[in-house]
């Protein structure tokens, strides 16, 4: 049964890395700026999931804090870029 879990972890890691590659392609070829910001959002979420898979595999608790930091700062970056696209400034009046 542990071989099943190892295969499932391998498959999930492969899926997240492939999703990161797809988001990266959209990040580079995206025709408008909001497409690129959306691709960045997908990219950091999938990177966070890849890091969580690393944490599940190694059995260490250190990776969850890093994943939390990636989630917080990725949300801040997406929010700042979206606000900048909405009006020409990040923090408006």
């Amino acid at each position: 049964m542990n071989t099943f879990f190892g295969l499932a972890a391998d498959f999930a890691s492969f899926c997240f890395v492939a999703a990161m590659i797809f988001a990266l392609i959209r990040l580079f070829v995206g025709p408008s700026a909001q497409d690129r910001v959306l691709a960045f959002d997908t990219f950091y979420i999938n990177g966070m999931l890849t890091l969580l898979m690393l944490g599940i595999r190694s059995g260490s608790m250190l990776y969850f804090d890093v994943a939390m930091l990636i989630a917080v700062f990725g949300f801040l970056g997406t929010m700042a870029l979206a606000k900048f696209l909405l009006r020409g400034e990040v923090i408006g009046p």
């Binding site: 542990n2 999703a19 909001q34 959002d41 997908t42 979420i45 969580l52 059995g59 949300f75």
Partner: protein, 112 residues
Amino acid sequence: MNELSLPLWAALPAGILLVCGGLLALIGSLGLLRLRNFFERAHPPTMGTTLGTGCVLFASMLVSSALLHRPVFHEVLITFFVLITAPVSAMTLMRAAVARNRPRPERLNVER
């Protein structure tokens, strides 16, 4: 090496959840790559963001609870944060897209 001591009641549902989360994230990102305009592309990654993250973090809770022989709940923090913030950023981004697609020559004349 730690996976060798994983019991059956944790390994089976955690494996199934990991496969489901990986497939959800992959399909969502493929939809982001393949759909035609922005308002169609905004929908698929939210599936991988919310359900995929939920699946992976629940599997992580199962595995760490089985390894440490006590219930571990601090992955709920990441799930809660991602579930709260994903609609906020998606809606702000869609509002930005609507505002940028709108033709506005008259607004420039009014404000200047």
